[in-house]
Every structure is written in structure tokens, then in C-alpha cells.
């Protein structure tokens, strides 16, 4: 039997498990609280697995191996940024967000600053950034399905999108968390299966590092084979902001059983992510550089090809299904967020509630399901042209989200005084500058090449916030009290 024959069986079984979980979860969705924050019922263990599965997107392994192989392992893996970014959520955001009883990041922006304008703007940013992020995940999924089922890339895109949309629209966050855990186990199984074959082909950790340094001088250095210290610094800054404003991670904080459970899940999640990537990116990235580098046209093809070359068809199908799991477990969180951004944040909180319009829960669930389908279709259309390596597309979504939300989160949750005007000015300026820079990068403008879009985005956000501080008005106590437990001195 070929890889594709095994692929149809293994991937088919995997899908049956995932869709069954989605359907079982769908039967338990009675309220919007069930749908969007899974009834706030998760303990530390479930939170750790759900956090990890949401963080480890398809690009974490597929494009992580591609980037590590291409530029050098140490340069691409910004652990210190991951740790500091998660520390920001741990120390400043997690408890206060969970305590506020919201559902989404736009809820924070609307409630903390007492502004429906900010809520609506944030919902728009979340929906747009989800689409950009989804483009990367759908392309990652298509690269895997291309090898797994031996179908053309385009049909990989179609199949990936249909699967993502179908079970998230059915099941909501409860489905996402259950399937995240199933996907998390598949993902580990996929990576562990290839370990003996890679070890036999290239040896252990030290052997891989020594060999890869010989074929690609500089690979094991801090700056990798071709990065400057300055570019490395901006890459580290990108990921620090990325992890501090990681939508999938911040949204999960609302689903924890209590504020302390939300916070306690974070250090364990990031520790396990670091262990996972040390093997999944650096060791496998080095191995890919040694084994398949001459046979590929895009670095994103390295990992699927290495699997097919090293493993028999049955095991290759299992390993590829595991990696498809990683792509799926992030994508479903993103789709769900885009649904809640439109149904809950825009329509319910910005339009219906202020006008006294009453709709039942099923109405909002229906709107969020239609939104999920629309966002999926839009992301599918945008994923057809080749926009470059997956991790690069992911970093564009991060630039938009980081520029919009990092300063409002950090300053809004550490100071009671920050009000609507500086926050809105900062968020809009950040997104506008980051988007201009992304446009410049994609169209090959020379001025855009030297800096990652998040740097101009963040600088613009900071300047706009400072410039509009004279117009600042502290929000009323009723808004701030949800986030700060102690009274004003």
C-alpha cells in the first residue's frame, strides 16, 4: 500500500474521532457561555494541554523545521521571547482578565475603557488578524495533505478549509478544547514516531549539531547562518509581543475555573512548549538540513518530505496526521474567535445591547456559525496565492494584533488612569502602520525590508498614546473595578 492509501485510512479515522468529539460537544452547547468559554470549567491539567495545543500551530513544526533548516536553529527559536511574553500574561493579564468575567479580548477593550467604539474596533482587528493567521494554517494543512493523500495542493486547501469550518461551527469552544486534547496527543504521537528513524539516519543531538555546523557554518551560533544581531533582536521582539498578545492563549484564560487556575497553567504550558520545540524544531530542523535540503524547492516542504523518505507508508501517514493535528488545533481556536468577535462583540455588545434590542442565545450562536463559515471561505480564497513561508505569514498576523493590543493590555491592566482616547489612538495608529509595512514587505519595497512590521506598528502605537495623553479621561470606577480589586488610594 502507498502513503496515500494509508493516509486515507489513518486521516479518515482521525477525522471521525475529531468530528465525533465536535458533535458530542455540540449537544452540550446550551448557552453562549458554553459555546465561547466552555462554561468556565477547566482545571490546571486541561488548561495546560489546551494552551499548548493552541500555541503549537501547524507552522510550529512544519515551518519551524523549515526556518531552523534554512537559517540555523538558535537564531530562529526565541525561547527567551516566549518565556518573557508568557510572563507578561502571567504577571499582568491572566488573573485580571479571568476575574472580569468577559468572553473575548474585545470584551476587555470595551469593558476596561468603557467604550463600545473600542470594543467594535478590537472585534474588527481580531477578525482580520484571524483571517491572516488562518491563511498560514490552511496552507500548512495543504502541504501536509498533499503528501498524506497525494492530492494536488489546491484540493489540500479546499479539504483543509472544509474540515476546519465544519467542526468548529458545530461545536464551539468545548469542541475546540476536547479536540485540542485529542490533537495534542496525535501531535506528540506523530513526532515520537519519527524519532528512531531520524536517530538512525543522523545520530543524536550532539551528532546532528556537529554535522549541520560542518555543512552550514554558523548554524549553531546565536545569529545562525545569515542573520545580523539587529535583525535577530527584532525577531526576538516580534515573538515577545506575539506571546504576550497571543489571542488563542489570552482567550483560553477566560475558560479557566478560577483566576489562579488561569495563571498557574501558564508556566507549565510554556515549559512543555520549549521541550517540544527543542526536539521538534532544532533537532529535526538540523536533521532536515542534512537529509533533504537538496531535494526541495520550498523550505516548508522539508518536514513532510523527510517523513516520507524515512518512514514506511503506514508510519508516514500516522506522523503526517499528527502534524496535521497541530495545524487544526490552532485553526479551530482562531475560527471560534472570529465568530465571537462578530456575533458577541460587534452585533450583541456594540449594536443590540446599547439599543435595547433583545435576541435569544440561539440567534447569536447562529450568527457566530455563519461568521465562522464566511471567515473560512475568505481565508481560503486568500490562501490560494503564494505569500511566502508559513511562519512569515503568521508573523504578519502577530504584527497586527501586537500593535493593536500590547500597549492597551499592558498599560490598561497596570494603571487605572488610562482611558479611551489614548487607547483608541494607539491601537488604530499601530494597526495602520503595521499594515502599511506589511503591504510594503509583500510588494517588495526596499524601505520595508529592513524592519519587521511590528516595530513601526509598536512605535506608532506608543507615539500616538503619548501624544493623546492630554485628552485622557480616567474611565468610571464601575469599569475599572472589574479588573482592579483594590480601591483607589
Amino acid at each position: 500500500m502507498t502513503v496515500s492509501a494509508y493516509g486515507i485510512i489513518v486521516f479518515g479515522l482521525y477525522l471521525l474521532v475529531i468530528i465525533a468529539l465536535g458533535l458530542i460537544a455540540a449537544r452540550q452547547q446550551n448557552t453562549t457561555e458554553d459555546f465561547w468559554v466552555a462554561g468556565r470549567r477547566f482545571g490546571v491539567g486541561v488548561m495546560i494541554m489546551a494552551n499548548m495545543a493552541a500555541i503549537m500551530h501547524g507552522g510550529s513544526i512544519l515551518s519551524g523545521v523549515a526556518f531552523a533548516g534554512r537559517f540555523g536553529g538558535i537564531a530562529i527559536l526565541p525561547y527567551i521571547s516566549f518565556a518573557l511574553g508568557v510572563a507578561c500574561i502571567y504577571f499582568f493579564f491572566a488573573r485580571k482578565l479571568r476575574r472580569s468575567g468577559g468572553f473575548t479580548l474585545p470584551d476587555y477593550m470595551g469593558d476596561r475603557f468603557n467604550s463600545n467604539l473600542l470594543r467594535g474596533w478590537s472585534a474588527l482587528v481580531v477578525a482580520v488578524s484571524c483571517i491572516v493567521y488562518l491563511i498560514a494554517q490552511i496552507r500548512g494543512m495543504a502541504f501536509i495533505l498533499e503528501r498524506l493523500l497525494e492530492i494536488p495542493f489546491f484540493w489540500g486547501l479546499v479539504l483543509g478549509t472544509v474540515l476546519f469550518v465544519a467542526y468548529v461551527a458545530l461545536g464551539g469552544l468545548l469542541a475546540v478544547v476536547w479536540t485540542n486534547i485529542a490533537q495534542f496527543l496525535f501531535m506528540w504521537a506523530g513526532l515520537i514516531i519519527i524519532m528512531p528513524a531520524v536517530y538512525e539516519a543522523v545520530g543524536g543531538w550532539t551528532a546532528v549539531m556537529t554535522q549541520v555546523e560542518a555543512v552550514a557554518p554558523g548554524w549553531t551560533n546565536v545569529t545562525g547562518t545569515e542573520w545580523s544581531v539587529g535583525y535577530l533582536f527584532s525577531w526576538y521582539l516580534v515573538w515577545l509581543i506575539a506571546y504576550a498578545t497571543r489571542l488563542e492563549l489570552i482567550t483560553k484564560m477566560y475558560a479557566a475555573k478560577s483566576p489562579s487556575v488561569a495563571a498557574r497553567s501558564l508556566p507549565w504550558s510554556i515549559l512543555l512548549v520549549m521541550v517540544f520545540l527543542l526536539y521538534g524544531n532544532i533537532y529535526l530542523g538540523g536533521a532536515a538540513r542534512l537529509l533533504v535540503w537538496d531535494d526541495i524547492t520550498s523550505p516548508d516542504q522539508a518536514f513532510p518530505l523527510m517523513i516520507v523518505q524515512l518512514l514506511g507508508p503506514g508510519l508516514a501517514a500516522l506522523a503526517l496526521t499528527g502534524i496535521a493535528s497541530a495545524a487544526m488545533s490552532t485553526t479551530d481556536s482562531l475560527l471560534l474567535m472570529s465568530g465571537s468577535a462578530v456575533a458577541h462583540d460587534l452585533i450583541r455588545r456594540c449594536f443590540h445591547e446599547p439599543r435595547g434590542i433583545k435576541k435569544d442565545e440561539t440567534y447569536y450562536l447562529r450568527v457566530s456559525r455563519y461568521t465562522i463559515i464566511a471567515v473560512g471561505v475568505l481565508a481560503f480564497i486568500c490562501s490560494i496565492p503564494d505569500l511566502g513561508m508559513i511562519l512569515r505569514i503568521v508573523s504578519f498576523a502577530i504584527a497586527i494584533v501586537g500593535s493593536a493590543f500590547f500597549l492597551p493590555l499592558l498599560i490598561g491592566l497596570t494603571s487605572r488612569k488610562l482611558g479611551t482616547v489614548p487607547t483608541l489612538a494607539s491601537s488604530i495608529s499601530g494597526v495602520v502602520f503595521a499594515s502599511i509595512w506589511i503591504g510594503g514587505t509583500l510588494t517588495g519595497m526596499s524601505w520595508a525590508a529592513s524592519l519587521h512590521p511590528i516595530i513601526p506598528g509598536l512605535c506608532a502605537a506608543a507615539v500616538a498614546m503619548i501624544a493623546t495623553l492630554p485628552f485622557n479621561q480616567t474611565p468610571p470606577d464601575a469599569s475599572i473595578g472589574k479588573f482592579f480589586t483594590r480601591a483607589l488610594p
Binding site: A83, S260, A263
Partner: protein
């Protein structure tokens, strides 16, 4: 060391582990125990 230069080991592993250790110690011994409202 383990096939990596010393500076790489420090940047890649030691510094981030220190940050994670601070969070873990804080979570287990210093954080207020705020049960659900």
C-alpha cells in the same frame, strides 16, 4: 557543549529557563489563592 557554543546555550536555554522558574516559584509559593468568584 552539546554541540552548541556556550553563548548559544545561554541564550537558547539558560535565560528562558530562569524566567519560567521565576513564574513557577511565584505560582506555587507566592501567588494569592483567589478561588472563583
Amino acid at each position: 557543549m552539546i554541540g552548541l557554543p556556550l553563548t548559544s546555550v545561554a541564550v537558547l536555554l539558560v535565560a528562558p529557563l530562569v524566567v519560567v522558574a521565576v513564574m513557577l516559584i511565584h505560582a506555587e509559593w507566592f501567588a494569592e489563592d483567589d478561588s472563583d468568584e
